[in-house]
């Protein structure tokens, strides 16, 4: 496969044409995966021996937490592409992804709190994982606020891209600093590919489907938001031209 062909999509027109054609399929796939994964997870898996039916929040909590981290990674990559190759679509995709990532972080924190209340006996504990998610949420907020605060589009794209790079380093640093600061209440990884202590297959398959659903939903939303932003910019350009002419 020729990787250089990928850069053709840096052309906003080509990007919009292709993604617009693919968008309905992503929506349908996302809805199907989410409905199947969540219904399967909620109604057709056995209750856990000790946790009862509360364990089922897992199908919302785990995918949203994974997405919260992966969306930041996606923003990091698109920011790098913007800095190196100056493709506007890339910067816009990062901008479009940020609020989705922030919402995913909130979903992960909220479902975690709802599960933690009966299980740990507390809504919130200053556990390393919880704390680093809260910090990640603050990073998302700062990133979004900086985008909103700057008038000039290119300046905003440049500044937020650098903030994303620096923020990634500090977010990682905080993740491990927080580990040092307090011992955890949160269980370890339960979906690793290489470990023996994973969840049983009955829980694993519906979880996989709902993770796929979250990923597809994210892709569909990013495409939608990016294309909206491209159109909005075109409108502004047209209006500006009309005022001149």
């Amino acid at each position: 496969m020729n990787l250089n062909a990928l850069w053709e999509y840096a052309n906003p027109l080509k990007f919009m044409r292709t993604t617009e054609r693919a968008l309905p399929y992503f929506w349908v796939a996302a809805v199907v995966c989410l409905v199947v994964g969540l219904v399967w997870g909620f109604f057709f898996t056995p209750d856990d021996f000790r946790q009862g039916s509360t364990v089922k929040i897992f199908y919302l909590h785990v995918p949203s937490a994974m997405m919260a981290i992966n969306i930041w990674v996606m923003m990091l990559i698109t920011s790098l592409v913007w800095i190196v190759r100056r493709h506007h679509v890339s910067a816009l995709a990062a901008r479009a992804a940020a609020p989705i990532g922030a919402v995913m972080t909130v979903i992960a924190l909220a479902t975690g709190a709802i599960w933690g209340q009966p299980m740990w006996g507390t809504w919130w504990a200053w556990d390393p994982r919880l704390t680093s998610f809260l910090i990640l949420f603050l990073f998302y907020l700062g990133y979004i606020a900086l985008w909103e605060a700057i008038e000039n589009d290119d300046t905003a794209a440049d500044l937020t891209a650098v903030l994303c790079l620096v923020g990634s380093v500090f977010a990682l640093l905080s993740r491990y600093a927080v580990n040092f600061w307090n011992q955890g209440l949160h269980q370890g990884a339960s979906l690793s590919l290489d470990k023996k202590e994973n969840v049983a297959d009955v829980f694993w398959f519906p979880a996989l489907v709902s993770i796929a659903g979250f990923v597809l939903l994210f892709i569909a939303l990013v495409i939608l938001r990016t294309n909206t932003e491209i159109r909005a910019r075109r409108m502004r350009a047209l209006l500006a031209r009309e005022r001149l002419g």
Binding site: I135, L138, F139, L141, G142, A145, L146, A149, I150, T155, D158, L159, V162, L163, L165, V166, G167, F170, A171, L173, S174, A177, V178, F180, W181
Partner: protein
């Protein structure tokens, strides 16, 4: 570069330069905390390292938007950027000037404030050392935040939102070092981590600050 540093220091020392403002803010925080949590010596001694670190951090934050905003408004930042000095050197000097006018006084005055917070005797040396190691990182990270928001009108609140998450690792290791010192435990690990953060930040972050400043100046 030395001349730039001296100029910034002179500007800060003169009337209206805000020198000592951070110190006064630190004093107010330390005065207000006992009103908030009660005057028991045992409780104060236990939270003293954390409160002193938080106070120092907030005092640093307070003066961040002065680092670049004044030079931006009167145009001297444009002149500096067109001078033969590399922009990386300029932001480093700005950070250094900020540290000398804000961080260093805090470090020197911190034992006094520690008395007010009834810090245990063993904790003084680790507290001063942790602030000495940590406040340069606060200044350099703050300069990055100031460079990001310099073009924004009333960017002060945004500046705190951007900078505070970046302060998390420094605060964790700094406060941990001071706390372990106060409890008489071994402070080597957090001290090394704190020094590592400061060294890394001083070495690398000026490049990011200069990059965003170039974007803002174009």
């Amino acid at each position: 570069m030395i001349a730039l540093l001296m100029r910034d220091l002179r500007l800060a020392m003169r009337a209206g330069g805000g020198f000592g403002l951070g110190l006064a803010f630190f004093l107010i925080v330390v005065t207000l905390v006992p009103f908030g949590v009660g005057p028991e010596t045992g409780l104060l001694a236990r939270i003293a390292p954390g409160i002193l670190w938080l106070g120092a951090l907030l005092a640093c934050l307070l003066s961040l938007d002065r680092i670049l905003a004044l030079d931006w408004e009167d145009g001297s930042l444009d002149l500096l950027a067109t001078s033969p000095l590399p922009l990386e050197g300029i932001v480093t000097m700005k950070a250094l000037a900020h540290w000398i006018t804000t961080g260093l006084p805090l470090v020197i005055a911190s034992p006094l404030f520690a008395v007010l917070m009834s810090l245990p005797g063993a904790g003084y040396a680790p507290l001063v050392l942790s602030l000495l190691l940590g406040t340069p990182a606060l200044s350099v990270i703050g300069t990055f935040g100031a460079a990001l928001t310099v073009g924004i009108k009333r960017g002060g609140l945004l500046l705190s939102l951007l900078v505070l998450p970046l302060y998390v690792p420094t605060l964790i290791f700094g406060a941990e070092m001071a706390r372990r010192g106060a409890e008489g435990a071994d402070t080597t690990t957090p001290m090394l981590m704190l020094a590592g953060i400061s060294a890394g930040v001083i070495a690398l972050l000026p490049f990011a600050s200069a990059a965003v400043l170039r974007v803002n100046l174009r």
